[in-house]
Amino acid sequence: MMHFLKSVRTIWMREIIRFWRDKPRIISTAFQPIMFLVVFGFGFRQILAKSNFGIDFIQFVYPGIIAMNVMGIAFFSSVSTVWDREFGFLKEILVAPVSRVSIVVGKIAGAATVATLQALILLILAPIIGVPLTFLVLVNLIVFMVLLSFAIAGLGLLIASLMTTTESFSVVMQVLFFPMFFLSGAFFPLTQVPYWMEILSKIDPLTYGVDAFRQIILGQEAGVIQAVKNLSLNTPLIDGLILAAFFIIFIIPATLNFNKGE
């Protein structure tokens, strides 16, 4: 058991070192969501101002953008598994006397940490957008960021365990990324969408991340609490449980695939 935890820590630590060393990536990764927020947020704000939305659009979109950022990085971090395979480092890990589960857990914990740290950068924008942040909100948010990134990194790792080249992995990621983003309810409430879209949204893990993030971030202002509640699908607790369930569903086949050997 001690050895298990130590191996998890070792594999996790490597991801953190690699993240920290690649500073240009940290900056460029932060740029994309800010662009989304500015372009879409300010672009739609005027049109939507007249509707009886109950919430300022940019405030509505903000939690969704943060969730998108978490998803993007958690996905991207699981690419490192494919890189490891392509450049041989995965062999060094797979031949080591450590359990396959510790490898998978270490990888995912690394991806989750990186995704959470990176997404926290976006909270700098909160005062500009006019969302008050309290310590409690921050703690809650971190918990759900970790949950969301575990679920997404689990999915990423499952796909990575089936792919052998970075190219094919990137293609699959791109095919998945935008549909998952748009169907997640980041841009529009999912309470009034057609039935087929509702079904698709419900199998999208990001939906539950967005749903929880929005309630946590916007649930502070007295004026919008009711509006947020009306637009939400579940309570954050239920969202959290669903994310955990997604994680388990993804992680079991991923571990089995790594167990099969090369």
């Binding site: 050895h3 130590k6 191996s7 820590r9 070792t10 490597r14 070192i17 690699r18 060393r21 690649d22 490891d84 392509e86 450049f87 041989g88 480092f89 062999k91 060094e92 890990i93 797979l94 031949v95 080591a96 006397p97 450590v98 050997g261 090369e262």
Partner: protein, 323 residues
């Protein structure tokens, strides 16, 4: 004691056999070479013995642990240097080794002591904090060897340890390996398709088409060739052959532009032959038999060393660029 015992080991990929039932033993403290052309089954064997892939049949013990039922103990007791680079080139050399030590359960104090020892051995201690990306191909290989030693394995597996490296680096790496065997009494199991490297081994198994065709010391294998190898270039091949046959050589073979003769005591044969022969001779070359000759004799083909290594170098460069 035997470090490795292999019985009827087999591996098929989708019904196509790669290793067709091989058996051999490796003694403790031995440098054991697995020699054969690309695709002969060398890497497949090493991957089975190091538990990376399961065999399709047969059994093997490494340090007396079963490679199928006791993978973890096998993994703990072996070091492995892969054919393809397997370092994290975004980390420093030191960090790569620390990562390895942690996975293999080497304690902090042991690590601090050993990391200096193994990195000094491969002459990289001064460059320990460099990012691996800035290392040359030879340095990376040496670092991988150092890494393979960090947990003091009883057996070190090396899959083509010198492939794609320049001759100077190759001989460097060999001097490290021989030092290791002497200092640690470590068993070394290696594959190569460089014939001249096979001569460093205590014993060699020649593998071709998934089967072991010969297994012996380099000297004994070479004595199978039947004496010295003499290549005579001539235009009158048939006439020359008849003249040589009088001296009852071990064998006479046609080669491009002449014949190749294997004969005991070639040095005294040549003057006697020249005193008698009538045919026009363009050139004569006498040499001691090499493992190359052994391979040629046993399999009827030559390992095409240059072609293979060029392809390997290109593959390595391609991979390096992609990163």
């Amino acid at each position: 004691m035997n470090s490795i015992e292999v019985k009827e080991l087999k591996k098929e990929y989708n019904g196509i056999p790669a290793v067709k039932g091989i058996s051999f033993e490796v003694k403790q403290g031995e440098i054991f070479g697995f020699l054969g052309p690309n695709g002969a089954g060398k890497s497949t064997t090493i991957r089975m013995l190091s538990t990376l892939i399961p065999p399709s049949g047969g059994s093997a013990l490494v340090n007396e642990f079963d490679i199928i039922s006791n993978k973890d103990d096998v993994r703990k007791s072996i070091g492995l240097v892969f054919q393809d680079p397997s370092l994290d080139d975004r980390l420093s050399a030191y960090e790569n080794l620390r990562f390895h030590a942690e996975l293999y359960g080497v304690g902090r104090d042991d690590f601090i002591e050993r990391v200096e020892e193994v990195m000094t051995l491969v002459e990289l201690w001064d460059r320990r904090n460099d990012i691996v990306r800035d290392y040359s191909g030879g340095m990376k290989r040496r670092l991988e060897i150092a890494r393979g030693l960090l947990h003091y394995p009883k057996v070190l597996f090396l899959d083509e340890p010198t492939i794609g490296l320049d001759p100077q680096t190759r001989s460097h790496i060999w001097s490290y390996l021989i030092k290791l065997q002497k200092n640690f009494g470590m068993t070394i199991f290696m594959t190569t398709h460089y014939m001249n490297e096979a001569e460093y081994c205590d014993r060699i198994a020649i593998i071709d088409g998934g089967l072991i065709v010969a297994l012996d010391t380099p000297e004994n294998l070479k004595s199978k060739v039947g004496g010295d190898v003499i290549t005579i270039k001539t235009k009158e091949i048939d006439k020359l052959k008849n003249e040589v046959a009088v001296f009852s050589p071990t064998s006479i073979k046609d080669v491009e532009g002449g014949v190749q003769v294997e004969i005991k005591d070639g040095k005294t044969f040549l003057p006697k032959f020249f005193a008698k022969n009538q045919s026009q001779i363009d050139s004569v070359e006498l040499r001691q038999p090499t493992i190359d000759d052994v391979f040629l004799k046993l399999t009827g083909k030559q390992i095409r060393e240059e072609g293979a290594s060029t392809a390997d170098i290109m593959r390595r460069q391609f991979r390096a660029r992609r990163r």
